[in-house]
């Protein structure tokens, strides 16, 4: 296959304990560490491994987001992607519109495979990959923990509630990654230097002329209800009697 398209979303780092703003307008992002969404890093690693096995010739990383998402794309280039496209927009974009942007990029680039993270750890939506597969009218293999390419088709093992499901899909297709698909490589310093010379195209979202879907409106953010602080017991006897007091045994 010729090209693989990979999505890299700029998201709050997974180690950050996010705080809701007092006025309920959102979560505090000022001065907060931002990273590649962890599932997208796994998506890129998988694409790179496919290319390194000689099963693809080019890996293109795409981010839809603010100008600062260049940082995440540069990291992706340092990991080994060949080029990057930033579809720039400072407003929030619903998943279906993200899927429509990806579809437009698919029409331009004609990739044999699109790999996205199964969810972004900010909005936790878990939608974009499935939506893209739907409007592209192609197969989806979501929550992948193993991918095997066989020419015009792929065998994908998916992490499902009942265990591990294997499906066969015709290519081109959309795959979304689960955590156990692979362990992303670390970026080395010389690679960061090399990445500076790799192409990064910046295109304003407006240039895509996609039809915007009816928008969801996020009206108010609040912290979750806190759990009451509990009691500490000293030994197993104490634990057993605390459980008995609560009528649990």
């Amino acid at each position: 296959m010729d090209k693989i398209l990979v999505g890299l979303k700029r998201a709050v780092d997974y180690n950050v304990r996010v705080r809701v703003r007092n006025d309920g307008s959102g979560v505090e992002t000022d001065g907060v560490k931002m990273s590649i969404n962890p599932f997208d890093e796994i998506a890129l690693e998988e694409a790179l491994r496919i290319k390194e096995r000689g099963e693809a010739s080019e890996v293109i990383v795409v981010s839809i987001g603010p100008a600062e998402a260049q940082q995440q794309l540069r990291t992706g280039l340092a990991m080994g992607a060949d080029r990057a496209i930033l579809v720039e927009s400072s407003e929030s974009i619903d998943p279906l519109d993200r899927a429509r942007v990806f579809l437009e990029l698919i029409n331009r680039e004609q990739p044999g495979l699109v790999i996205l993270g199964k969810q972004a750890i900010d909005d936790d939506n878990n939608q974009t990959g499935q939506m893209l597969a739907a409007i592209w009218d192609r197969p989806q293999a979501s929550f992948a923990s193993k991918v095997e390419l066989n020419g015009d088709s792929a065998r994908v093992t998916r992490e499902v509630d009942a265990g591990l499901e294997t499906i066969e899909i015709d290519l081109p297709a959309v795959i979304t990654t689960d955590l156990r698909l692979n362990e992303p490589r670390y970026v080395k310093l010389p690679d960061i230097m090399k990445a500076k010379k790799k192409p990064l195209d910046q295109v304003p979202l407006a240039e895509f002329k996609i039809e915007r879907s009816p928008a969801l409106e996020e009206t108010f953010f609040e912290p979750p209800s806190a759990r009451q602080k509990g009691v500490m017991v000293n030994d197993v006897a104490g634990l057993v009697s605390a459980l008995k007091d609560k009528g649990l045994i």
């Binding site: 939608q127 939506m131 739907a134 953010f221 979750p224």
Partner: protein, 312 residues
């Protein structure tokens, strides 16, 4: 009237309890009229189970050979073909619904509301974001169908005792052949199902091996509990993936949750926020799991767990 289509989750013979949880959520909509659709190559048995769920007005049994296994690519066009008559399409936020419903939403031209925790009005819902560290109120646009997944841990299952009508209908939608089921590897166990068990015992990285997990199973069996695990325990291969609890595993709400040798990372805690009582056993008194535990015991799990199992 709010006409709701709920997509039944099932394995061909048994209706999954997540469906009755979707019904409870849908029944909160003003003037809800609820239809459950069962897609299968032979939907009869599952459709009769669905018809017993309270608040359900009717069940549609849609037979098609392509529906022998639940594949999003083949189910989504069949659902969209029915949706003209409905204002809402709901599925559970299990891996079945998470895979399927966004494909339905995109074909219907709308965004999806993921993981409904509460219904605030006909088009207004609350849902968790940032691993449950924030709850956002979301309004879906008027004049468009609402496609959503229902966060199963937030809703009790609707009761049974109903006898709604079952209508058999034929599928007229074209289904693609580009996606084919190969196999399902399932670690069948006689223990209570993790997602519906009233009690759950979970082990973390501290267990150190799959052999050592036997002390977790022994305690679980004494308590008649389901067994879960942290991501670290699954990644290390001590237990299979379907036991992972958390942001990217299963979100559960048992009456009793016992976390053993689990530190309490936010991604794990988001999976157990709705548990009734949380018990934590950890040798590190500073472990964040103790911030959310109702009962905490500091010490070595390898002596505490067998002692507890004997004491019960």
């Amino acid at each position: 009237m709010a006409k709701v289509l709920i997509i039944a989750e099932h394995d061909g013979t048994e209706l999954n309890p997540s469906t009755a949880k979707c019904v409870t959520c849908a029944a909160q909509l003003p003037e809800a009229d609820i239809t459950i659709a069962v897609f299968s190559n032979s939907p009869g048995a599952v459709a009769s189970q669905a018809a017993t769920i309270e608040s359900v007005n009717r069940v549609l049994a849609v037979a098609d050979d392509s529906s022998e296994h639940a594949l999003a690519a083949t189910l989504a066009p069949q659902i969209v073909a029915l949706m003209g008559d409905y204002d809402y399409a709901f599925g559970p936020s299990t891996t079945f619904g998470k895979d399927l419903m966004p494909r339905v939403a995109a074909l219907a031209g709308v965004n999806q509301i993921s993981d409904i925790m509460s219904v605030e009005g006909s088009h207004t819902f609350k849902r968790p974001v940032y691993a449950g560290n924030a709850i956002v109120t979301v309004k879906a646009p008027d004049g468009h169908p609402v496609v959503a997944t229902v966060r199963t841990a937030s809703w009790p299952a609707a009761g049974t005792g109903n006898s709604a009508s079952v209508e058999e209908i034929a599928n007229n939608a074209a289904v693609p052949s580009h996606t084919r089921f190969v196999e399902l590897q399932s670690g069948k166990s006689d223990r209570p199902d993790l997602q519906t068990a009233a009690r759950v015992v979970s082990g973390g990285r501290a267990l150190g091996s799959s052999e050592n997990f036997d002390i977790i199973y022994a305690l679980a069996d004494k308590l008649d509990a389901g067994v879960g695990a942290s991501r670290a325990a699954v990644d290390a291969g001590y237990v299979p993936n379907d036991m992972q609890v958390g942001q990217t595993g299963k979100i559960i709400a048992p009456e009793l949750y016992v976390a053993i040798g689990i530190s309490g990372a936010i991604q794990h805690l988001t999976g157990i926020k709705d548990a009734g009582t949380i018990v934590a056993i950890n040798k590190d008194e500073e472990a964040p799991i103790f911030d959310v535990a109702d009962i905490g015991l500091v010490g070595d799990l390898f002596s505490i767990v067998p002692e507890l199992t004997d004491a019960l």
